[in-house]
């Protein structure tokens, strides 16, 4: 029944190893006199990199997602947060993260490792408040947060960039006081280059999924894009994405498929219900591959419209021959780079997201779309109902299912599978496995 050859990714174990080391290095940072900071996956991680090579971070969303996969521990964490009075409908990553602090249990063993400071950015209502509460729970750990909600990429102006760069510059002064370390601008510049390289390379990897058969499926991509949510500013991640890109190019050349019986292509949206990733394997029974989503492509990946009108990886400053010389230049480039992030655009209007989703649906040659109405994330579910209407208007069949990325109490597995069956039937597909 298989139409295409398939094989595992050669760099798979390396991705797992980088992730594992990231969490262990954070836990052990103090043994070697290093610095720990914690904050969101969208934080400007390149900035604390200027404090030294022994600076380790813990980003809250992927940490929450890791725990979400462990249903029992996730529930314990969320119940601990609820017991403290936090509402059950708040961001599930945030509740899990707080619960892990309250229970004083780290997913990778031992006590929850306290950061030296919190370093966050803010575009969603919960972002700054997440670490305001975390700081209180941890005994008033210093917190710094940069407001990045200045409007969509198409309306960026000097006033808006200055606002963010001003906060960043103050943040560096603040960081030096908190850590009593001298700041190294050269390390910042290197980290900015790394971030631009890593996030552009990830987009290049996703671009290869336009190929039929798709060399990667979304469930696999979750284990790869996550590295960018951990430390997109690091050389390790940028180098890994280069290695991954080379391997995926090779897969395309040899016609290696992620799903060997691929006959149908869909995309999803928002974070998946992490404890139920088998949803994606279930699709494969119908020969259906989820090639990714705006979420997997654009949470970390940076894109631009190319001369031929198609979507492609954003050209990095280094590719443009830009030589960053000063802290100010580095911060300005970092700001402008991040303001183009696809997953920041819909915060200002759902139509900006709908346009990108319709573009993906057309350029990646999709047959349908599965939208996860994610009760766990108000930021990424924002405007999702309007996205549904726009996709339908553009002619794409859309299936929706409700769930929660981190709270299994809000996911109905049987009902979701039944919905998938119905959706597959509407796409004229039958189980082939």
């Amino acid at each position: 029944m298989n139409k295409y050859p398939t094989e595992p990714l050669k760099c798979w174990n390396k991705a797992k190893e980088i992730r594992e080391n990231y969490y262990l290095n954070y836990a052990k940072a103090k043994e070697k006199g290093g610095i720990r900071w914690a904050g969101g996956a969208w934080s400007f991680g390149a900035i604390p990199a200027g404090l030294g090579d022994d600076v380790h971070c813990l980003t809250g969303e992927p940490y929450g997602a890791s725990i979400a996969w462990n249903k029992d521990f996730a529930l314990q964490c969320q119940e601990a947060a609820e017991k403290k009075g936090y509402a059950r409908d708040l961001c599930s990553y945030m509740r899990i993260y707080w619960g892990s602090i309250i229970l004083d249990k780290y997913l990778w063993g031992g006590h929850f490792p306290k950061p030296d400071f919190f370093w966050q950015d803010h575009i969603c209502c919960s972002h700054a408040k997440w670490y305001q509460v975390a700081s209180e729970l941890e005994g008033n750990i210093p917190m710094y947060c940069i407001d990045v909600a200045v409007g969509p990429e198409g309306e960026v102006n000097k006033n808006r960039v200055d606002y963010i760069v001003g906060q960043m510059s103050d943040g560096i002064e603040w960081m030096q006081k908190v850590t009593k370390r001298k700041y190294d601008n050269q390390k910042l510049i290197e980290a900015v280059y790394n971030e631009c390289r890593a996030t552009s390379l990830w987009a290049e990897v996703c671009l290869l999924n336009k190929t039929i058969p798709a060399p990667l499926d979304e469930k696999t991509m979750y284990s790869l894009y996550v590295l960018g949510t951990l430390m997109k500013h690091s050389k390790t991640v940028a180098d890994f994405y280069q290695e991954l890109l080379d391997e995926v190019k090779e897969r395309v050349k040899r016609g290696i498929a992620a799903v060997p019986n691929e006959i149908c292509r869909v995309m999803s949206d928002t974070q998946p219900p992490w404890a139920f990733l088998k949803v994606f394997r279930y699709l494969e029974k119908y020969g259906c591959v989820s090639i990714g989503s705006l979420y997997t492509f654009g949470l970390i990946g940076l894109w631009e419209i190319k001369q031929d009108g198609s979507w492609g990886a954003k050209t990095t400053p280094q590719q443009k021959g830009i030589k960053i010389k000063t802290r100010e230049e580095a911060l300005r480039i970092l700001t402008e780079w991040n303001l183009a992030k696809p997953e920041w655009q819909h915060f200002y209007s759902p139509h900006l997201k709908s346009e990108m989703m319709i573009r993906i649906a057309r350029e990646w040659k999709l047959d349908g779309v599965m939208l996860h109405y994610n009760r766990g994330c108000e930021g990424l579910s924002l405007g999702i109902a309007e996205n549904r209407l726009a996709l339908q208007k553009a002619g794409f069949p859309v299936m929706t299912f409700e769930g929660n990325m981190g709270d299994e109490r809000e996911f109905d597995e049987t009902r979701t599978m039944a919905r998938i069956d119905t959706f597959m039937e509407t796409l004229d597909l039958k189980k082939t496995r």
Binding site: Y86, H122, A128, K129, D147, N157, D170
Partner: protein, 375 residues
């Protein structure tokens, strides 16, 4: 005396339609959040009208806003989809929470209006960069408004707009001041009619009614036993039925911290030759919405001061279902009042509230507050 405010609250659409008939050159701007700089709108002879819900169950927003967002934002959008704000010439929002933003963006997509504007109001109000940033954004907004209106807004126009807003704020503060009295001359329900209508009615006309009211209030003092003195704190709240019920069982709401109440008018715009800067400063330093109250919790000392100034015996914490910013503040708010020996009761609000069960809970709360008097 209070009847006029009640009428305005209940017949808000009729009022604005009549306003348009008598102000042929004026335009009406529907706004979704109280961070909108109304000074600039009044300067341009634009009547700002806050878009609020109708407290009726509805089924028209389901295709547009996922049900995990607050009922208030869906109720607001429903009003637009039902055509109740068909007189608006424009809509605008100043960036605050994600929930109400969806009402605005879906309105933009589905309900045609000649003008719409998204003001990227800063969230980080505690950084020194917020002021120059907002000043710049206000200047951009003013220019956009001028282009739409086809006329320049001068400094003299801005001075007029600032004075209209400040005069209204002063009068509202004067009305609220009377509620500190041992026997407040107005009830919480009456205050709610006054405060909410203030967001819909031409401030000049509303001000005249306020001046008349203020003159007559001393004669009312002492006419009603207030019972337990309560404060209401939380999300948007114009639920008159709820306040009426609370005040029917032996209590008076003497102060609030709502964006439909005191947060809206508490501080004035200062004097500065740079008008944009003065206006920016006012919105940055006003009592904060929880979505902007970070990294330091500035709201809490303000809440406590209100509670003490108004000799509050108990606090009802009201939260629109799914309102993340308030949900994120509630444990800290409860702790604050607990540490200051002020009892609190938490209630979750929807478009309609279950008055019967809530009444039982409020009665139990009042019994708890007044138990010393009982025994």
């Amino acid at each position: 005396m209070i009847e006029m405010f009640k009428q305005w609250y209940e017949a808000r659409h009729e009022y604005v339609k009549a306003w348009k008939r008598t102000n042929k050159n004026g335009k009406v701007m529907g706004y979704f959040c109280t961070y909108v700089p109304e000074e600039i709108l009044y300067a341009g002879n634009v009547l700002p009208v806050r878009i609020l819900g109708s407290h009726e169950p509805q089924d028209v927003t389901e295709p547009h806003i996922f049900a995990m967002y607050c009922p208030f934002c869906r109720d607001c959008l429903a009003q637009g989809l039902k055509g109740r704000y068909d007189y608006l010439d424009g809509i605008m929002i100043a960036q605050s929470c994600l929930h109400i933003r969806q009402a605005f963006t879906s309105w933009q997509l589905h309900i045609p209006v000649p003008y719409s504007y998204y003001l990227p109001m800063p969230n980080n109000l505690q950084t020194k960069h917020a002021l120059p940033y907002l000043r710049g954004e206000l200047a951009i907004f003013k220019e956009s408004l001028e282009n739409w209106l086809g006329k320049k807004i001068t400094d003299a126009d801005l001075d007029k707009g600032i004075e209209i807003m400040n005069q209204s704020r002063r009068l509202m503060r004067a009305v609220y001041e009377t509620r500190k009295a041992e026997r407040p001359p107005i009830t919480g329900l009456e205050a709610m009619y006054i405060a909410v209508s203030n967001q819909m009615i031409d401030k000049r006309e509303h001000g005249l009614a306020l001046e008349e009211t203020i003159k007559k209030l001393p004669a009312r003092q002492g006419s009603r036993d207030p019972g337990a003195r309560l404060m209401i704190v939380g999300s948007e709240d114009d639920d008159t039925e709820f306040v009426r019920m609370v005040e029917s069982v032996g209590a008076t709401v003497v102060i609030d911290d709502h964006c439909t109440g005191s947060r809206y008018f508490w501080n004035e715009t200062g004097k500065d030759n740079d008008r944009m800067r003065a206006i920016a400063e006012r919105y940055i330093s006003r009592p904060a919405c929880p979505s902007k109250d970070w990294p330091t919790r500035i709201r809490l000392p303000h809440l406590l001061k209100l509670a003490k100034d108004y000799k509050v015996q108990g606090v009802i914490i009201i939260q629109q279902k799914f309102c993340d910013p308030h949900e994120l503040d509630i444990p800290a708010t409860e702790k604050l009042f607990r540490e200051n020996n002020i009892p609190t009761m938490f209630l979750e609000f929807d478009v309609t509230v279950p008055i019967g069960p809530f009444k039982t809970r409020v009665e139990a709360f009042l019994e708890m507050i007044t138990q010393e008097a009982l025994f």
